[in-house]
Structure formats: structure tokens, C-alpha cells
């Protein structure tokens, strides 16, 4: 499995790469999933969600992906009637926001490690705790911020 393109989170005025997929829980809990198309090994889930935390609440504010047949997916596709903002009340768990330089690159899922992890504990969509986990100090020339080193983009031909 390839390292995965992260979700995006706007939190306290900063943009973060978010190594947690709260929408996967929504689909697991019975939320209807459109058939996302997987075009790329770095994006098995087939979409990238943009999230925001406002007043300690987690919101999904955008969705970028494509559906089988080539149609573009948006927030409205998954949450009809909610095209601008969706409260993620279904999500409980930890959100991981890696920070700093890369300690170790792992070409699988969100396996790479970084100098720090900003961890947000969420209970039914509400932030209850924020902690910073120190993982170590990276070399000065190590890449700064989350990245995916390589991926295979599937052509229509190879999927047929």
C-alpha cells in the first residue's frame, strides 16, 4: 500500500495535513457512500475532505473526489441539503496532525513519523482534549511537513 494523501484541517487559523479519515467512520456507521473512484494508489479512499474546527466542533466543509463514471463528488453528494458545512457528530477518536520535519518515511497509509503530532481527542464531533506528542528530532535536511513520495496513477486502460 502506498503512503496516503491526507485530509486537510483548518484549526486555529492554520492549515494542517490531517492523518485521520473521519468520513470513513461515517460510511462504516451506515452513512450512504457514493461509489468513489480510486484513480491513484495514494488515495485508496477516492476523495479528500476539507475540515474545520469552529468553537471546538469538527466540521466537514469541502469534499474533492470523483465518482465512478467520472462525475465530480462534492459535499452535497454525500450530505444532500448540506452543501457548505456538515457537523461530524459521528466521529469519536483521535485526530492526528503531524508537525515538523520527517523522522521516518513509511510508504504505507499514514505510517510516516514526524517530529511532533498534534493530537485532538474528539467525542461525538466535539474536541475534548489537545495534546502534543514529541516523537524526536529529525535531521536538518529532512523534509518539512507531510508528504507522499510516490504513487501510481491508474489509467482508464489499466482499470478496464
Amino acid at each position: 500500500m502506498t503512503a496516503q494523501i491526507p485530509e486537510r484541517l483548518r484549526y486555529q487559523g492554520e492549515e494542517y495535513a490531517m492523518c485521520t479519515n473521519p468520513l470513513s467512520d461515517y460510511f462504516l456507521m451506515g452513512g450512504e457512500s457514493p461509489n468513489f473512484e480510486m484513480n491513484c494508489t495514494a488515495l485508496w479512499r477516492g476523495y479528500v475532505g476539507s475540515w474545520e474546527i469552529v468553537a471546538d466542533r469538527l466540521y466537514l466543509i469541502g469534499l474533492n473526489g470523483s465518482l465512478e463514471g467520472g462525475r465530480k463528488a462534492s459535499l452535497e453528494t454525500v450530505f444532500p441539503g448540506f452543501s457548505r458545512r456538515v457537523f461530524a457528530h459521528w466521529f469519536s477518536g483521535k485526530i492526528r496532525l503531524p508537525q515538523g520535519r520527517q523522522l521516518e518515511y513509511v510508504h504505507m497509509g499514514y505510517g510516516s513519523t514526524y517530529e511532533r503530532d498534534l493530537l485532538l481527542t474528539i467525542e461525538r464531533g466535539v474536541v475534548t482534549q489537545q495534546t502534543i506528542k514529541q516523537n524526536g528530532t529529525a535531521d536538518l535536511d529532512a523534509p518539512d511537513g507531510y508528504g507522499v513520495a510516490a504513487m501510481t496513477i491508474f489509467s482508464e486502460k489499466s482499470k478496464e
Binding site: I5, R8, N39, S66, F154, S155, E156
Partner: protein
Amino acid sequence: MSYVHLYLGLGLLLSVWMFFENKWHEKKNDDALKNILRSTAVHKPHYFEGVMSEFIAPILFFAIGALVWPGLLFLKLKEHGDLFQREKTGWPEEPIFEMHRRNLIEKLTVQEIEEREIVRDPLGAVPVLPFGHLNKGWRKFLDSTGTNFELWSFSAEWAPWGGPELRKGYVQVHQGEIGSYFMTVCREIEKAPETKSLRKKWMRRLTA
């Protein structure tokens, strides 16, 4: 023409063909995927990065490809082989979540459950209904619940591939048998960090 020229010529032809085939498919798949990748970019590419990807990288690819083309050919064939194999064998199956009587907490009526599960949001980003955005799933669950079924809340831990997980929700019970369930919480349980002493203990056991 010497064998060396033939080898390099074939390599050059193959790498040029692979490069433009890739470009062609990239263009064909352009919109959706590129939008996704653009949306995840954290910085604008530098001028040098543009020159690198547009000119230097293709030239390097052709030059190296001409030398190591048997390897490229192998990778290309392997790509097709892997796709074929995956279609043929499919993915291994994940363990299935099972619930037991010890996981049941409290017997409740539909009304009691719906009262406690109304979701509200100050920004109006959720329908004011039981289970909010998951209301449709809840309705489906109720449709599958017979009139003589009991509904119980549950809490259960289990261990799928990704690590231990806590699941909570509501489950149908019919004549003592546990049936379908509706999940409201699905959370990873943190594993205790492996300490040096614990690691040493395991190493001792392994080497004993």
C-alpha cells in the same frame, strides 16, 4: 549497426513510448484527480521545480530508460500482472465483528433512544433528528426491526486488523438472540506504549 546501438535504440523507443503513454493517460484522467492533488498541495511549485519536471526529468528518463529498459519492461509487465492477479484472487477477508450478551447494557424503547440521540448544532450543520446525518441509517435499522424485537444499547471491544476498537450503539435482540446493530461510536483504543523494559523482557524470552 552494433548490438550496443540496437540495445540503446530499443531502450530509447520504449522509454519515449512509456513517457508519452503516461502523459496521454494523465491528460485523459486530468480533471478530478488533478483537482484532488492540487487541493492537497501545501506550496506553489518553484520555477526550478517546473523546469525540472517539464524538461530535465523527461530527458533524464529517456537517457536512463535507454540503458535500463529491460527493467522498465519488467515493471510494465508486472503492473499488468499485479492488476490481473488482484482481480483473480481478490483481497483477503477482514475479521468480522461479533457481539455477545455480555456487551449488552440496557434495554430501551425506540422513543427513549430517539430522545437521547437528537443531534443539535449551533451552526445548523446537522438535521435536528435522532442520530443527525445518520438518521436515514437509523430508519433503515428500525425498518428491519420486528415488532417483538427488543432494542438494547451495547458497548464492545474487538480487534480488527488496524488494532483494538471500541464500538457502541444499539442492537436488536429477538428471543435472546443478538441480531443486527446500529453503531453510534467506533473508536480506536490506544495501545499501551512498548517500554524498554517490556522490550527487554520479550528479547530475553526470545533468546532464552
